[in-house]
Symmetry: C2
Subunit: 219 residues, 2 copies
Protein backbone atom coordinates (compact mmCIF):
# COMPACT_ATOMS: atom_id res chain seq x y z
CA UNK A 1 0.00 0.00 0.00
CA UNK A 2 2.87 2.32 0.73
CA UNK A 3 3.73 4.14 -2.47
CA UNK A 4 7.43 3.77 -3.04
CA UNK A 5 9.28 7.05 -3.16
CA UNK A 6 12.80 7.93 -4.14
CA UNK A 7 12.85 10.43 -1.29
CA UNK A 8 15.27 12.74 -3.04
CA UNK A 9 15.02 16.48 -3.05
CA UNK A 10 15.36 16.62 -6.80
CA UNK A 11 12.89 17.70 -9.46
CA UNK A 12 13.31 14.60 -11.54
CA UNK A 13 12.98 12.25 -8.61
CA UNK A 14 9.85 14.09 -7.54
CA UNK A 15 8.36 13.87 -11.03
CA UNK A 16 9.06 10.15 -11.10
CA UNK A 17 7.55 9.71 -7.67
CA UNK A 18 4.41 11.34 -8.98
CA UNK A 19 4.06 9.94 -12.47
CA UNK A 20 6.93 7.53 -12.97
CA UNK A 21 5.03 4.35 -12.39
CA UNK A 22 4.03 2.05 -15.16
CA UNK A 23 1.24 3.30 -17.48
CA UNK A 24 0.87 6.66 -15.78
CA UNK A 25 2.51 8.81 -18.45
CA UNK A 26 0.69 6.94 -21.20
CA UNK A 27 -2.59 7.76 -19.51
CA UNK A 28 -1.58 11.41 -19.43
CA UNK A 29 -0.66 11.17 -23.10
CA UNK A 30 -4.11 9.82 -23.97
CA UNK A 31 -5.81 12.49 -21.90
CA UNK A 32 -3.69 15.15 -23.58
CA UNK A 33 -5.74 14.64 -26.73
CA UNK A 34 -8.98 15.36 -24.93
CA UNK A 35 -11.37 13.95 -22.34
CA UNK A 36 -11.62 10.18 -22.33
CA UNK A 37 -13.88 7.60 -20.77
CA UNK A 38 -12.61 4.76 -18.67
CA UNK A 39 -13.17 2.30 -21.47
CA UNK A 40 -11.58 4.57 -24.05
CA UNK A 41 -8.43 4.59 -21.97
CA UNK A 42 -8.65 0.87 -21.45
CA UNK A 43 -8.85 0.29 -25.19
CA UNK A 44 -5.91 2.58 -25.80
CA UNK A 45 -3.68 0.82 -23.29
CA UNK A 46 -3.61 -2.84 -24.25
CA UNK A 47 -2.32 -4.88 -21.36
CA UNK A 48 -3.34 -2.69 -18.47
CA UNK A 49 -5.72 -4.22 -15.99
CA UNK A 50 -8.93 -2.49 -15.00
CA UNK A 51 -7.90 -2.28 -11.38
CA UNK A 52 -4.58 -0.71 -12.22
CA UNK A 53 -6.16 1.83 -14.55
CA UNK A 54 -8.61 2.63 -11.82
CA UNK A 55 -5.87 3.11 -9.27
CA UNK A 56 -3.75 5.24 -11.60
CA UNK A 57 -6.68 7.50 -12.38
CA UNK A 58 -7.45 7.94 -8.72
CA UNK A 59 -3.83 8.83 -8.09
CA UNK A 60 -3.73 11.35 -10.94
CA UNK A 61 -6.88 12.82 -9.48
CA UNK A 62 -5.38 13.03 -6.00
CA UNK A 63 -2.33 14.79 -7.40
CA UNK A 64 -4.41 17.33 -9.27
CA UNK A 65 -3.18 16.15 -12.64
CA UNK A 66 -6.45 14.78 -13.95
CA UNK A 67 -10.06 15.38 -13.07
CA UNK A 68 -13.05 13.11 -13.00
CA UNK A 69 -16.09 14.68 -14.61
CA UNK A 70 -19.59 13.28 -14.73
CA UNK A 71 -20.49 13.85 -18.35
CA UNK A 72 -23.97 14.70 -19.40
CA UNK A 73 -24.26 15.69 -22.97
CA UNK A 74 -23.33 12.98 -25.42
CA UNK A 75 -24.19 10.09 -23.16
CA UNK A 76 -24.25 10.03 -19.42
CA UNK A 77 -21.12 8.61 -17.90
CA UNK A 78 -17.79 9.48 -16.41
CA UNK A 79 -15.08 11.30 -18.29
CA UNK A 80 -11.49 12.02 -17.29
CA UNK A 81 -9.66 15.13 -18.40
CA UNK A 82 -6.40 16.89 -17.62
CA UNK A 83 -6.21 19.82 -15.25
CA UNK A 84 -3.95 22.77 -15.97
CA UNK A 85 -1.19 21.02 -14.08
CA UNK A 86 -1.80 17.95 -16.18
CA UNK A 87 -1.42 19.98 -19.32
CA UNK A 88 1.86 21.36 -17.99
CA UNK A 89 2.98 17.80 -17.48
CA UNK A 90 1.91 16.83 -20.98
CA UNK A 91 4.03 19.68 -22.28
CA UNK A 92 6.95 18.64 -20.12
CA UNK A 93 6.98 15.10 -21.41
CA UNK A 94 6.93 16.09 -25.08
CA UNK A 95 10.72 16.18 -25.45
CA UNK A 96 10.89 12.70 -24.02
CA UNK A 97 8.33 11.58 -26.59
CA UNK A 98 10.36 13.22 -29.33
CA UNK A 99 13.48 11.48 -28.11
CA UNK A 100 11.67 8.16 -28.19
CA UNK A 101 10.14 8.84 -31.59
CA UNK A 102 13.62 9.13 -33.05
CA UNK A 103 14.26 5.63 -31.77
CA UNK A 104 11.15 4.06 -33.22
CA UNK A 105 12.81 1.54 -35.47
CA UNK A 106 10.96 0.06 -38.36
CA UNK A 107 11.48 -3.44 -36.99
CA UNK A 108 9.54 -2.87 -33.81
CA UNK A 109 6.49 -5.06 -33.61
CA UNK A 110 4.30 -2.34 -32.30
CA UNK A 111 0.78 -1.29 -32.87
CA UNK A 112 0.27 1.90 -34.86
CA UNK A 113 -2.73 4.03 -33.98
CA UNK A 114 -3.67 7.39 -35.37
CA UNK A 115 -3.82 8.81 -31.86
CA UNK A 116 -0.13 8.22 -31.25
CA UNK A 117 0.75 10.16 -34.36
CA UNK A 118 -1.72 12.85 -33.42
CA UNK A 119 -0.02 13.14 -30.07
CA UNK A 120 3.39 13.41 -31.68
CA UNK A 121 2.15 16.15 -33.98
CA UNK A 122 0.58 18.03 -31.09
CA UNK A 123 3.82 17.70 -29.15
CA UNK A 124 5.90 19.17 -31.92
CA UNK A 125 3.47 21.95 -32.77
CA UNK A 126 4.84 25.44 -32.33
CA UNK A 127 1.96 27.91 -32.02
CA UNK A 128 4.24 30.92 -32.39
CA UNK A 129 5.35 29.72 -35.81
CA UNK A 130 1.76 29.17 -36.88
CA UNK A 131 0.61 32.77 -36.67
CA UNK A 132 -1.27 33.64 -39.83
CA UNK A 133 -1.04 30.08 -41.18
CA UNK A 134 -4.24 28.40 -42.36
CA UNK A 135 -3.32 25.05 -43.86
CA UNK A 136 -4.41 21.46 -44.05
CA UNK A 137 -1.76 18.75 -44.32
CA UNK A 138 -2.53 15.15 -45.18
CA UNK A 139 -0.25 12.42 -43.81
CA UNK A 140 -0.52 8.85 -45.10
CA UNK A 141 1.30 6.38 -42.91
CA UNK A 142 1.08 2.66 -43.49
CA UNK A 143 -2.67 2.38 -43.69
CA UNK A 144 -3.33 5.28 -41.34
CA UNK A 145 -4.27 8.62 -42.82
CA UNK A 146 -4.80 11.77 -40.85
CA UNK A 147 -5.03 15.47 -41.35
CA UNK A 148 -3.39 18.33 -39.50
CA UNK A 149 -5.47 21.47 -39.61
CA UNK A 150 -3.49 24.58 -38.74
CA UNK A 151 -5.45 27.73 -38.02
CA UNK A 152 -3.34 30.57 -36.73
CA UNK A 153 -2.15 29.51 -33.30
CA UNK A 154 -4.08 26.26 -33.11
CA UNK A 155 -3.52 22.76 -34.42
CA UNK A 156 -6.31 20.21 -34.81
CA UNK A 157 -5.46 16.69 -35.82
CA UNK A 158 -8.43 15.04 -37.51
CA UNK A 159 -9.05 11.47 -38.57
CA UNK A 160 -11.48 12.54 -41.28
CA UNK A 161 -10.57 14.82 -44.13
CA UNK A 162 -11.70 18.27 -42.98
CA UNK A 163 -11.06 19.95 -46.33
CA UNK A 164 -8.92 19.69 -49.42
CA UNK A 165 -5.34 19.35 -48.12
CA UNK A 166 -2.59 21.68 -49.29
CA UNK A 167 -0.30 18.69 -49.68
CA UNK A 168 -0.18 14.98 -49.12
CA UNK A 169 2.86 13.33 -47.59
CA UNK A 170 3.09 9.55 -47.90
CA UNK A 171 5.72 7.99 -45.67
CA UNK A 172 6.27 5.89 -42.57
CA UNK A 173 6.39 7.02 -38.98
CA UNK A 174 10.13 6.87 -38.36
CA UNK A 175 10.73 8.97 -41.43
CA UNK A 176 8.08 11.44 -40.34
CA UNK A 177 9.75 11.66 -36.94
CA UNK A 178 13.13 12.26 -38.53
CA UNK A 179 11.64 14.93 -40.74
CA UNK A 180 10.08 16.66 -37.78
CA UNK A 181 13.27 16.57 -35.78
CA UNK A 182 15.33 17.77 -38.73
CA UNK A 183 17.51 14.67 -38.72
CA UNK A 184 16.91 14.26 -42.42
CA UNK A 185 15.84 16.81 -44.98
CA UNK A 186 12.67 16.41 -47.04
CA UNK A 187 14.92 16.27 -50.07
CA UNK A 188 16.74 13.24 -48.70
CA UNK A 189 13.55 11.54 -47.58
CA UNK A 190 12.03 11.82 -51.02
CA UNK A 191 15.24 10.98 -52.83
CA UNK A 192 15.70 7.81 -50.80
CA UNK A 193 12.19 6.70 -51.62
CA UNK A 194 11.07 6.79 -48.03
CA UNK A 195 8.63 9.64 -48.58
CA UNK A 196 6.45 10.90 -51.37
CA UNK A 197 5.25 14.48 -51.50
CA UNK A 198 2.37 15.81 -53.62
CA UNK A 199 0.98 19.29 -53.42
CA UNK A 200 2.06 22.82 -52.68
CA UNK A 201 5.78 23.02 -51.86
CA UNK A 202 5.28 26.26 -49.97
CA UNK A 203 2.73 24.60 -47.72
CA UNK A 204 5.33 21.89 -47.17
CA UNK A 205 7.83 24.51 -46.08
CA UNK A 206 5.26 26.00 -43.71
CA UNK A 207 4.57 22.55 -42.30
CA UNK A 208 8.22 22.17 -41.45
CA UNK A 209 8.18 25.50 -39.66
CA UNK A 210 5.02 24.77 -37.75
CA UNK A 211 5.43 21.07 -36.96
CA UNK A 212 9.16 20.57 -37.08
CA UNK A 213 12.42 22.21 -36.30
CA UNK A 214 11.97 24.37 -39.38
CA UNK A 215 14.45 25.76 -41.84
CA UNK A 216 14.76 23.46 -44.79
CA UNK A 217 12.53 23.41 -47.85
CA UNK A 218 10.71 20.39 -49.27
CA UNK A 219 11.72 18.89 -52.58
Amino acid sequence: MSRRSYAQYCGLARALDLVGERWTLLIVRDLALGPRRFTDLLAGLPGIGTSLLSERLRHLEDQGIARRVVARRPASGVVYELTDEGRDLAQAMSPLATWGAARLDADVEAELRPEWVAYALQASFRPAAAAGVHDCYEFRLEGVTLWALVDDGTLTVAQRRPRRPDFTLTTDVPTLAQLGSGRISPREAVASGRARFRGDPEAGARALQVLGSGGDRPA
Copy 2:
Protein backbone atom coordinates in the same frame (compact mmCIF):
# COMPACT_ATOMS: atom_id res chain seq x y z
CA MET B 1 13.58 -12.31 -18.32
CA SER B 2 11.34 -10.90 -21.01
CA ARG B 3 11.47 -7.14 -20.74
CA ARG B 4 7.94 -5.85 -20.69
CA SER B 5 7.08 -3.58 -23.57
CA TYR B 6 4.12 -1.35 -24.25
CA ALA B 7 4.35 -2.38 -27.92
CA GLN B 8 2.94 0.89 -29.16
CA TYR B 9 4.18 2.75 -32.16
CA CYS B 10 4.45 5.97 -30.21
CA GLY B 11 7.47 8.00 -29.25
CA LEU B 12 6.54 8.24 -25.60
CA ALA B 13 5.81 4.55 -25.31
CA ARG B 14 9.12 3.77 -26.94
CA ALA B 15 10.98 6.11 -24.58
CA LEU B 16 9.33 4.46 -21.62
CA ASP B 17 10.14 1.01 -22.97
CA LEU B 18 13.77 2.06 -23.08
CA VAL B 19 14.21 4.10 -19.93
CA GLY B 20 10.88 4.02 -18.11
CA GLU B 21 11.78 1.41 -15.56
CA ARG B 22 12.52 2.23 -11.99
CA TRP B 23 15.85 4.01 -11.31
CA THR B 24 16.85 4.24 -14.95
CA LEU B 25 16.26 7.96 -15.43
CA LEU B 26 17.88 8.76 -12.11
CA ILE B 27 20.99 6.91 -13.26
CA VAL B 28 21.00 9.00 -16.42
CA ARG B 29 20.59 12.11 -14.30
CA ASP B 30 23.63 11.21 -12.22
CA LEU B 31 25.66 10.42 -15.30
CA ALA B 32 24.61 13.72 -16.84
CA LEU B 33 26.87 15.48 -14.35
CA GLY B 34 29.89 13.52 -15.48
CA PRO B 35 31.41 10.03 -15.42
CA ARG B 36 30.63 8.03 -12.32
CA ARG B 37 31.84 4.81 -10.76
CA PHE B 38 29.54 1.98 -9.84
CA THR B 39 29.79 2.85 -6.18
CA ASP B 40 29.31 6.55 -6.79
CA LEU B 41 26.02 5.72 -8.45
CA LEU B 42 25.15 3.32 -5.67
CA ALA B 43 25.72 6.01 -3.08
CA GLY B 44 23.63 8.49 -5.02
CA LEU B 45 20.67 6.14 -5.31
CA PRO B 46 19.76 5.07 -1.81
CA GLY B 47 17.54 2.03 -1.97
CA ILE B 48 18.70 0.50 -5.23
CA GLY B 49 20.24 -2.93 -4.99
CA THR B 50 23.61 -3.70 -6.47
CA SER B 51 22.17 -6.28 -8.83
CA LEU B 52 19.55 -3.90 -10.13
CA LEU B 53 22.07 -1.14 -10.68
CA SER B 54 24.25 -3.59 -12.51
CA GLU B 55 21.38 -4.69 -14.72
CA ARG B 56 20.28 -1.14 -15.46
CA LEU B 57 23.78 -0.15 -16.44
CA ARG B 58 24.08 -3.10 -18.77
CA HIS B 59 20.77 -2.18 -20.34
CA LEU B 60 21.79 1.45 -20.82
CA GLU B 61 24.96 0.17 -22.39
CA ASP B 62 23.07 -2.16 -24.73
CA GLN B 63 20.86 0.70 -25.82
CA GLY B 64 23.79 2.97 -26.54
CA ILE B 65 22.79 5.45 -23.86
CA ALA B 66 25.74 4.93 -21.55
CA ARG B 67 29.20 3.58 -22.01
CA ARG B 68 31.46 1.56 -19.76
CA VAL B 69 34.99 2.86 -19.68
CA VAL B 70 37.97 1.33 -17.94
CA ALA B 71 39.43 4.31 -16.16
CA ARG B 72 43.10 4.70 -15.72
CA ARG B 73 44.07 8.03 -14.41
CA PRO B 74 42.80 8.81 -10.96
CA ALA B 75 42.52 5.22 -9.82
CA SER B 76 42.06 2.13 -11.89
CA GLY B 77 38.50 1.01 -12.08
CA VAL B 78 35.41 1.14 -14.18
CA VAL B 79 33.63 4.35 -15.00
CA TYR B 80 30.28 4.89 -16.67
CA GLU B 81 29.52 7.87 -18.84
CA LEU B 82 26.79 9.02 -21.20
CA THR B 83 27.06 8.63 -24.94
CA ASP B 84 25.81 11.36 -27.27
CA GLU B 85 22.44 9.66 -27.31
CA GLY B 86 22.49 9.63 -23.55
CA ARG B 87 23.15 13.35 -23.49
CA ASP B 88 20.21 13.85 -25.84
CA LEU B 89 18.11 11.91 -23.38
CA ALA B 90 19.36 13.98 -20.47
CA GLN B 91 18.32 17.08 -22.38
CA ALA B 92 14.94 15.57 -23.17
CA MET B 93 14.14 14.81 -19.56
CA SER B 94 14.98 18.29 -18.32
CA PRO B 95 11.46 19.67 -18.71
CA LEU B 96 10.15 16.76 -16.70
CA ALA B 97 12.66 17.59 -13.99
CA THR B 98 11.56 21.21 -14.07
CA TRP B 99 7.94 20.17 -13.80
CA GLY B 100 8.79 18.04 -10.81
CA ALA B 101 10.92 20.74 -9.21
CA ALA B 102 7.91 23.03 -9.14
CA ARG B 103 6.15 20.36 -7.10
CA LEU B 104 8.88 19.90 -4.54
CA ASP B 105 6.94 20.87 -1.48
CA ALA B 106 8.71 21.95 1.62
CA ASP B 107 7.06 19.19 3.61
CA VAL B 108 8.62 16.36 1.66
CA GLU B 109 10.92 14.26 3.78
CA ALA B 110 13.56 14.00 1.16
CA GLU B 111 17.27 14.08 1.14
CA LEU B 112 18.88 17.21 -0.26
CA ARG B 113 22.17 16.80 -2.06
CA PRO B 114 24.13 19.45 -3.88
CA GLU B 115 24.22 17.25 -6.98
CA TRP B 116 20.43 17.42 -7.43
CA VAL B 117 20.54 21.19 -7.37
CA ALA B 118 23.50 21.16 -9.70
CA TYR B 119 21.50 19.00 -12.08
CA ALA B 120 18.55 21.36 -11.92
CA LEU B 121 20.79 24.32 -12.67
CA GLN B 122 22.42 22.52 -15.57
CA ALA B 123 18.99 21.61 -16.89
CA SER B 124 17.78 25.18 -16.86
CA PHE B 125 20.97 26.66 -18.27
CA ARG B 126 20.57 28.44 -21.59
CA PRO B 127 23.95 28.71 -23.29
CA ALA B 128 22.66 31.15 -25.89
CA ALA B 129 21.70 33.62 -23.17
CA ALA B 130 25.13 33.29 -21.57
CA ALA B 131 27.18 34.68 -24.43
CA GLY B 132 29.61 37.20 -23.06
CA VAL B 133 28.59 36.53 -19.47
CA HIS B 134 31.31 35.82 -16.93
CA ASP B 135 29.71 35.58 -13.52
CA CYS B 136 29.77 33.60 -10.32
CA TYR B 137 26.55 33.11 -8.38
CA GLU B 138 26.40 31.76 -4.87
CA PHE B 139 23.32 29.84 -3.74
CA ARG B 140 22.76 28.99 -0.09
CA LEU B 141 20.07 26.38 0.39
CA GLU B 142 19.34 24.88 3.77
CA GLY B 143 22.85 23.94 4.69
CA VAL B 144 23.98 23.33 1.13
CA THR B 145 25.98 26.01 -0.59
CA LEU B 146 27.08 25.89 -4.18
CA TRP B 147 28.39 28.15 -6.86
CA ALA B 148 27.37 28.55 -10.48
CA LEU B 149 30.22 29.70 -12.64
CA VAL B 150 29.09 31.10 -15.97
CA ASP B 151 31.72 31.63 -18.62
CA ASP B 152 30.34 32.58 -21.98
CA GLY B 153 28.48 29.52 -23.23
CA THR B 154 29.37 27.20 -20.38
CA LEU B 155 28.07 26.61 -16.90
CA THR B 156 30.06 24.90 -14.18
CA VAL B 157 28.44 24.13 -10.89
CA ALA B 158 31.00 23.92 -8.12
CA GLN B 159 30.78 22.80 -4.53
CA ARG B 160 33.73 24.94 -3.52
CA ARG B 161 33.83 28.67 -3.90
CA PRO B 162 35.72 29.23 -7.17
CA ARG B 163 36.00 32.99 -6.76
CA ARG B 164 34.28 35.92 -5.15
CA PRO B 165 30.62 35.61 -6.18
CA ASP B 166 28.78 38.47 -7.86
CA PHE B 167 25.84 37.87 -5.57
CA THR B 168 24.62 35.50 -2.87
CA LEU B 169 21.08 34.19 -2.87
CA THR B 170 19.89 32.58 0.34
CA THR B 171 16.67 30.64 -0.06
CA ASP B 172 15.15 27.15 -0.17
CA VAL B 173 14.91 24.83 -3.12
CA PRO B 174 11.20 25.23 -3.93
CA THR B 175 11.61 28.98 -4.01
CA LEU B 176 14.67 28.67 -6.21
CA ALA B 177 12.72 26.44 -8.56
CA GLN B 178 9.86 28.92 -8.68
CA LEU B 179 12.27 31.73 -9.38
CA GLY B 180 13.86 29.77 -12.21
CA SER B 181 10.53 28.91 -13.77
CA GLY B 182 9.30 32.47 -13.41
CA ARG B 183 6.37 31.45 -11.23
CA ILE B 184 7.30 34.12 -8.75
CA SER B 185 9.35 37.23 -9.21
CA PRO B 186 12.52 37.89 -7.23
CA ARG B 187 10.72 40.88 -5.79
CA GLU B 188 7.99 38.68 -4.37
CA ALA B 189 10.41 36.06 -3.12
CA VAL B 190 12.38 38.62 -1.18
CA ALA B 191 9.33 40.52 0.02
CA SER B 192 7.74 37.35 1.39
CA GLY B 193 10.91 36.53 3.30
CA ARG B 194 11.54 33.35 1.37
CA ALA B 195 14.73 34.63 -0.24
CA ARG B 196 17.52 37.00 0.65
CA PHE B 197 19.63 38.65 -2.01
CA ARG B 198 23.00 40.30 -1.44
CA GLY B 199 25.24 41.56 -4.17
CA ASP B 200 25.13 43.04 -7.61
CA PRO B 201 21.53 43.44 -8.82
CA GLU B 202 22.65 43.45 -12.43
CA ALA B 203 24.34 40.10 -11.94
CA GLY B 204 21.05 38.91 -10.48
CA ALA B 205 19.24 40.01 -13.60
CA ARG B 206 21.78 38.18 -15.73
CA ALA B 207 21.34 35.06 -13.61
CA LEU B 208 17.63 35.12 -14.34
CA GLN B 209 18.33 35.35 -18.04
CA VAL B 210 20.91 32.60 -18.02
CA LEU B 211 19.40 30.17 -15.52
CA GLY B 212 15.74 30.97 -15.63
CA SER B 213 12.96 32.01 -17.90
CA GLY B 214 14.37 35.51 -17.87
CA GLY B 215 12.71 38.88 -18.02
CA ASP B 216 12.19 40.21 -14.53
CA ARG B 217 14.69 42.08 -12.42
CA PRO B 218 15.73 41.27 -8.87
CA ALA B 219 14.76 43.45 -5.95
